[in-house]
């Protein structure tokens, strides 16, 4: 069965970036344009990997991750953002509360998307 990836980002160009990069990698990719939409997906589907944006209208990445972890404590979550400094307090709270995540700085290119995905899903030490 194909592994499932979820991208939660309010920017269409970013969602498309993941789709284009992972097009031929043999995964199922879902994309959500908001934290709220992402949570709906998380509640109905078991994902193997989640890419999450931080700065989104409505539910931001921090709150979305708290909600995701209520349902799934193990799925690897990569927070991909250019705003990690602005959200430093929220990220610290996540860490203090034992919420697991990894951080990537935007913008990330095709090679890095593929490397991070393969590493997380196949355990390949490719980055």
């Amino acid at each position: 069965m194909k592994k499932r990836i979820l991208v939660i980002d309010d920017e269409e160009s970013v969602r498309k970036s993941y789709a284009l990069a992972l097009e031929d990698c043999g995964y199922n990719l879902d994309a959500s344009a908001s934290g709220e939409e992402g949570l709906k997906n998380v509640k109905s589907i078991n994902y193997d990997l989640i890419f999450l944006d931080l700065k989104m209208p409505g539910l931001n990445g921090i709150d979305t991750l708290y909600e995701i972890r209520k349902k799934d404590k193990k799925v690897p979550v990569f927070i991909v953002t250019a705003f990690h400094r602005e959200f430093a307090g929220g990220l610290k709270s996540l860490q203090d509360d034992g919420i697991d995540f990894q951080l990537l700085a935007k913008p990330i290119g095709r090679a890095q998307i593929i490397a991070v995905t393969r590493s997380a899903l196949e355990g390949l030490a490719s980055y």
């Binding site: 160009s13 970036s17 284009l20 990069a21 250019a82 935007k106 913008p107 990330i108 290119g109």
Partner: protein
């Protein structure tokens, strides 16, 4: 400037959208006043005026920096999302285009230009963050270790360009309370600029000296490059000023470096003359007393 008759303590700057307005009457009255003053009084007045002009210049500079900071923080961040899109679109097209296709090198050029934008945005973000850097990043650190780490980062470039690095670090230099990542960034900016400047030169060396100078640790990085013209020497720390060819520099490296050193309570200066290389002198206070971040802690 308005100088009232017989009283030089009153002055005002009269600005109009087109610049400074000086009427004929004002010039005549100023001449009268100047003639009535003794040489000493005139010197005192001139010194006061220069001080006031210097203060105004500093205020304008601060306002400019604050505006640049706000603008860059906002725009630079927002640019990251579309940049990620463009970068991936181009890389996708490259992936699906044979290398021998004449369109491939054009896409490669586009990719390079996007990465250039990315580098510019990173510099802008670093610049805009200078003011609110967290104090917890400060620790006692040995500068010689940081210099070694920076040289190791640049080792490939320095070796490839046949640049000889000479180090003269005084023994037993005390550690300095600093944000090591920021200080490494300063070393990297200065050394990297030196490497760029040395490209066209036949003799290529970089000389690094570190010594204790009273209450300061002084690090002097000199090069055998072509040097800097006196008329532009005072501009090199201004944001967006660069002597590098278009696309090779953002003009923020030295400005960021100077801000970092100032935030540490130190000073960064450059001495240079054409044909005689450039010498960057970094002074970092050894005592915690002079640190601007500690002053903040006292609530002043």
């Amino acid at each position: 400037m308005v100088v009232s008759r017989g009283d030089c303590s009153i002055r005002a700057f009269k600005y109009a959208p087109s610049g400074l307005e000086i009427s004929d009457d004002l010039i005549a009255r100023t001449k009268e006043t100047v003639n009535a003053l003794s040489k000493e009084e005139l010197m005192k007045e001139l010194q006061n005026t220069v001080k006031q002009l210097d203060f105004s210049k500093k205020m304008i500079h601060l306002e400019k920096m604050s505006a640049v900071g706000l603008l860059t923080a906002g725009i630079a961040h927002e640019l990251n999302n579309p940049m990620m899109g463009i970068l991936n679109y181009v890389q996708y097209c490259m992936e699906h285009t044979p290398r021998e296709d004449k369109r491939y090198p054009v896409m490669k050029d586009a990719e390079r230009e996007i990465l250039r934008c990315n580098s510019l945005v990173s510099d802008l973000v670093s610049y805009s963050r200078m003011e609110d850097t967290e104090e917890k990043g400060y620790q006692l650190e040995n500068c010689s270790i940081l210099l070694e780490q920076t040289l190791s980062l640049l080792s490939y470039r320095l070796t490839e360009s046949n640049i000889q690095v000479r180090q003269h670090l005084a023994p037993g230099l005390p550690p300095v309370l600093m944000n090591p990542n920021q200080i490494k960034q300063v070393f990297l900016n200065i050394l990297s600029n030196a490497a760029d400047a040395l490209k066209p030169c036949k003799t290529k060396w970089i000389d690094i000296r570190a010594l204790r100078d009273g209450r300061f640790l002084k690090i002097v990085i000199s090069d055998s490059g072509p040097g800097i013209l006196p008329e532009i020497l005072h501009k090199i720390f201004e944001p967006f000023f660069t002597m590098k060819p278009t696309g090779k520099g953002t003009g923020l490296g030295l400005s960021i470096s100077q801000n970092i050193i100032k935030m540490h309570g130190g000073n960064l200066e450059c001495r240079s003359s054409p044909g005689k290389g450039a010498s960057f002198e970094i002074s970092l206070p050894l005592s915690a007393k002079g640190k601007s971040h500690e002053k903040k802690n006292t609530g002043h």
